[in-house]
Every structure is written in structure tokens, then in C-alpha cells.
């Protein structure tokens, strides 16, 4: 098995907040190791975690939770040879590490909740975590761990943008429906109550890109199709990676109303012009599919076709 760095091209990281002093997103990534890469985003839950912790600098529970989760995930990843990380280690080991770290922070804060009920959570945050390992030949092995409604996406030349993780929301609205419904989270990383990390894994052939995004990123589009079309157009219209990153930043500052974090890494494309060339066909397909998408009814109609291949299907030989 050769080095993952042989397949790695470049990465991007874009963050934006309407109120940087109160930002509740956190991200982390480690793309430097030959044996495996980590990318993750965490979105502290502002409603559930609005409580402020005086002993912790007066920061909100949401901001404390997302940053604690990001640091803990980074440390957890650092402690292992990535090639030895299994689905079980993610679902149990990382889960326990996150629960322990948040409980420790909660105890340190000396605060207890005066509220009870299914909506009450201490230090709540979403988490969408991806680990990339070298696979056979030029392939890679992916593992994702999920709590909440941030997302990990896979971008490939043939299938375009596919959602790997599943949103964990009460009532299970689909990706289009939830842009309107904004359903409550059914599972979230937190300090006091139980939570799960849902793990998915499979192999993927290069070239591909992995994108981890909080809902401020994909939530500013009218449809999941709009997100993909915009990404592909920004790739096409930017001169290089720096230009692409700047365009993403500008798009979020113009259109998103929420904290937004997008972290991505690209494998096996070779160069930015190759990324442009190899995604051109998919952009043409998407533009044809979305042509005339002028009404809510038309959006729903196109979504019914698009959703057939929207979710990534695990591919493990």
C-alpha cells in the first residue's frame, strides 16, 4: 500500500460568520500524513446550546462544544496509526472520547441546567467527520462518522456531488424538504445524554474530492441541485485553487445568513485545470437537468430525478 500523499492534490478551507465574535462552527483537518487524512466540521447548536458559561469566558455552549469536539477529534486521530482505525473505533472510541471531553468541560464550568426535556442538551454540536486511507492501486478507503445535520459530500467526475452522511433529523425530512422545514436534530454530540456516531465506509476511485460542510453552506441554496451547480460553476470560472476558494468565500458572505464552514480535499485530479476539465461534463448534465427550474413545483420535479443518485452508495469489494 503506497502513500496517500501520492494521490493528494490540494485542499481548501472556507469559513464565514455573520457575527465572528459569536461564531459557533469549528473545523479541523490533518492532511499531512502518508497513512491517512482527517477532515471534520462541527456546528454548535445555537438554540439548544445558547446558554453562556461564565467560568469559560462567557462563551456560548454551542461555541464551546464545537471547538472542544474539533480539538478532541484531532487529538484522537493523532493518537493512532490511521490504517488501524476501524468503524468500531470511530463509533465507540471516538464517541467515548467526545463524550468524555464534553463532560469534563461541563464539570469544569460548574454549571448545571435548570431545564429538562427532550430539547434540552448540554454543550450540543453536530459532527461530520471523514477519514481517508490509501486503498488498493490508486483507490482510497473512506470512513465517515456522523451526528446531526452537517454533511460529508463526495465529488467525482461521473456522479457529481453525492451526500455520504445522512442527516439525523426528527421526522426524517429529505434534503430538499428540510431547506424549508428546518427540523430539529434527532441526534447530536453532547455532554450529558447519550448520542451516537453513525459510521459509513467504502472504497472510492480517484479522482475524487471530499467536502465537509455545515448547514450554513448548503442551507443557502434553494435546492441540493443548486449547491452542486454552483460548486461546478465556481470550479469552471476560477483560474486556480486560490480563485476557487475566494469565490466560495465571496458566495457565502453574499448568500449565507448563518455560520458556514467548508473543508475539502482533492485526490487524483493532478492539477486544477484537470479538475476543471474533468467536471465540465457533469456541469453540462446538471445545467440541462436544471434548465427551466423556475418554480417550486419544477424544483420538486427535478429533485425527484436528481435524488435517485444523490446519496452515495457504499462501495466495498
Amino acid at each position: 500500500m503506497d502513500s496517500l500523499l501520492d494521490r493528494f492534490d490540494f485542499d481548501l478551507r472556507v469559513t464565514w460568520s455573520p457575527d465572528p465574535d459569536r461564531a459557533e462552527d469549528a473545523g479541523c483537518c490533518d492532511l499531512s500524513r502518508a497513512e491517512g487524512h482527517l477532515l471534520a466540521v462541527f456546528d454548535g447548536c445555537g438554540g439548544l446550546g445558547a446558554k453562556r458559561y461564565e467560568r469559560l469566558g462567557g462563551r456560548s455552549g454551542a461555541a464551546i462544544a464545537s471547538h472542544t469536539a474539533a480539538e478532541t477529534t484531532m487529538r484522537w486521530f493523532d493518537a493512532f496509526d490511521p490504517t488501524q482505525i476501524s468503524s468500531y473505533m470511530l463509533s465507540e472510541g471516538l464517541r467515548n472520547s467526545l463524550a468524555h471531553a464534553l463532560r469534563h468541560v461541563l464539570v469544569t464550568s460548574g454549571e448545571t441546567s435548570e431545564l429538562f426535556g427532550s430539547m434540552v442538551r448540554s454543550l450540543p454540536t453536530t459532527g461530520s467527520i471523514a477519514i481517508v486511507l490509501p486503498g488498493r492501486d490508486r483507490d482510497c478507503h473512506l470512513m465517515t462518522a456522523q451526528a446531526g445535520d452537517s454533511r460529508v459530500y463526495l465529488l467525482t467526475p461521473e456522479a457529481g456531488l453525492q451526500q455520504i452522511t445522512r442527516d439525523e433529523l426528527r421526522g426524517n425530512p429529505d434534503a430538499l424538504e428540510n431547506l424549508q422545514a428546518s427540523a430539529p436534530l434527532s441526534n447530536v454530540i453532547q455532554a450529558e445524554n447519550d448520542f451516537t456516531l453513525t459510521v459509513r465506509s467504502g472504497d472510492v476511485s480517484t479522482p475524487f474530492a471530499l467536502l465537509c460542510a455545515t448547514d450554513g453552506v448548503f442551507g443557502c441554496f434553494r435546492s441540493p441541485m443548486g449547491f452542486e451547480v454552483t460548486l461546478l460553476r465556481l470550479i469552471r470560472d476560477s483560474h486556480d485553487l486560490a480563485g476557487f476558494t475566494a469565490s466560495l468565500q465571496s458566495m457565502l458572505s453574499e448568500h449565507s445568513g448563518d455560520d458556514s464552514t467548508l473543508i475539502g480535499s482533492f485526490y487524483g485530479w493532478g492539477s486544477y485545470p484537470a479538475l476543471q476539465r474533468l467536471t465540465r461534463g457533469r456541469l453540462r448534465e446538471m445545467e440541462a437537468l436544471c434548465d427551466g427550474m423556475d418554480t417550486d413545483e419544477a424544483v420538486r420535479h427535478v429533485w425527484e430525478q436528481y435524488r435517485v443518485n444523490y446519496f452515495w452508495k457504499e462501495e466495498t469489494p
Partner: protein, 232 residues
């Protein structure tokens, strides 16, 4: 058509609030809190939400006052229609001014029947992002459903059992009568009996414990607003 949402669209909410208030003798403190602040409710909720980067594009409030059918008869539960704020602020003031803290008989009240009445409100079913919030205030445990069924005026449509009431609220496999995504239940109530069971078993619920028979005098208007805003 742009692929983007309107900038504020994602964070614009159409909010319906149903205030369910125990109007028996001891409840004067929280009734006074509601009465004294009804005129500012729209402004204050809007401000709280703006601090969170969200906006309220429409706000409607209705009020249900409840007591005990066995002691108070047909007027044990009375409710207004939804009032649109800020346009109908005067109606809201008149409505809460009209509630007198009196009656109630024994210590528990018919809070579960009042909750059923609130669940069956005519909630906004429009196309926007919606929140349907039931905010119930009581300093007493609740009678079993049907405790007052022999009394004059007891509603025939009231659920007969706790299970029937729970089904009206809905749960993971069964959506119930409210909008699954929009519904919220905020209880300012003693953490005991039926209230404790509801906060343990029902989705989208928050209970702020209240001491018995104190009229929720330790619940400030600011705390009420924060609890509502954080649930949206």
C-alpha cells in the same frame, strides 16, 4: 430563478405561540408578568431573535386560560383566537387583562385538557418556515384526564387517556396532529406527575421546573422570552 435562497429566507420564521395559563388563585404573579408585558411581546421576541441572527416575519399569539372543571364548571377552559402582532396588540392586552386569578378547587388542575385544547389550535400551515409553540404556565400538578368529566361543560372531544393525548402530540413513528417539524412544547410547571412524564417522553419539549403554589413568581419575563427564542 436564482439557485440561492433569499439571503434572509433561511432564517425567517412564521411563529405561532399559544400561551396556556393556569388561572387559579395562586397564579397572580405570572399572570401579572404576562399582563405587564403583553404590549411589548412582539418587539421583544423580534429583538431576541435578531440577536440570534434570525427574524420573525409573522407572529400570532392566542391565549388559553384553564382551571378545574369539577370546581369551575363550563368556564374552566376558555381560549381566544390567534391574534396577529403587532396589529392586534390591544386585543391581546384586553384578553390577558380579562383573566382573573381565581377558583381551581383542589390543588391539581385540568392542565392536560388545556394542553389538548392547545394542540388543536388553528396553526398557520403556510409555506414558510414555521414554529408552533405551546407555552404552558402552571404551579400545580395535572389531574388525570377525565377527572372532571361529570362536570357540566366538560368537553366531549377531550382525549380519554394520556396515550391518546400523546398520540395527538405525535412521536417518531406517528406524526400526530401538529406539524412534526414546527411543534415545540415549553412547560413552566412542577417537575412531577404528568408534567414530568411528558417532558421525559414527548419530543421537542422543554420543562422549566416551578415550585408548587408559588404562581411562578421566580420566572421572569426575560427568562420566558429566552426560552421561547431558544426553542425557535
Amino acid at each position: 430563478m436564482s439557485v440561492y435562497q433569499h439571503r434572509r429566507f433561511s432564517y425567517d420564521y412564521e411563529v405561532d405561540i399559544c400561551l396556556v395559563i393556569d388561572r387559579t388563585g395562586s397564579m397572580r404573579p405570572i399572570l401579572d408578568t404576562v399582563k405587564n408585558n403583553a404590549v411589548n411581546l412582539h418587539r421583544d421576541i423580534k429583538t431576541r431573535m435578531e440577536l440570534k441572527g434570525k427574524t420573525v416575519s409573522a407572529l400570532r399569539v392566542r391565549v388559553i386560560a384553564f382551571g378545574d372543571y369539577a370546581a369551575d364548571g363550563p368556564e374552566a377552559i376558555v381560549g381566544s383566537d390567534f391574534m396577529t402582532l403587532p396589529e392586534q396588540t390591544e386585543n391581546l392586552e384586553a384578553c390577558v387583562d380579562g383573566i382573573r386569578a381565581e377558583g381551581g378547587g383542589d390543588i391539581p388542575e385540568d392542565g392536560l385538557e388545556a394542553l389538548a385544547f392547545a394542540i388543536r389550535s388553528k396553526w398557520n400551515r403556510g409555506p414558510g418556515k414555521r414554529r408552533h409553540i405551546i407555552c404552558l404556565f402552571t404551579d400545580a400538578p395535572a389531574h388525570d384526564l377525565g377527572f372532571g368529566e361529570q362536570a357540566e361543560g366538560y368537553p366531549l372531544s377531550a382525549p380519554k387517556t394520556y396515550e391518546e393525548l400523546s398520540a395527538m402530540w405525535g412521536f417518531a413513528q406517528y406524526p400526530g396532529e401538529m406539524d412534526t417539524y414546527a411543534k415545540r412544547l415549553l412547560l413552566f410547571a412542577p417537575d412531577e406527575g404528568w408534567w414530568q412524564r411528558i417532558r421525559t417522553e414527548w419530543e421537542n419539549c422543554i420543562l422549566r421546573p416551578a415550585a408548587r403554589d408559588t404562581g411562578l413568581q421566580d420566572v421572569s419575563y426575560a427568562e420566558m422570552l429566552d426560552t421561547i427564542a431558544n426553542s425557535i
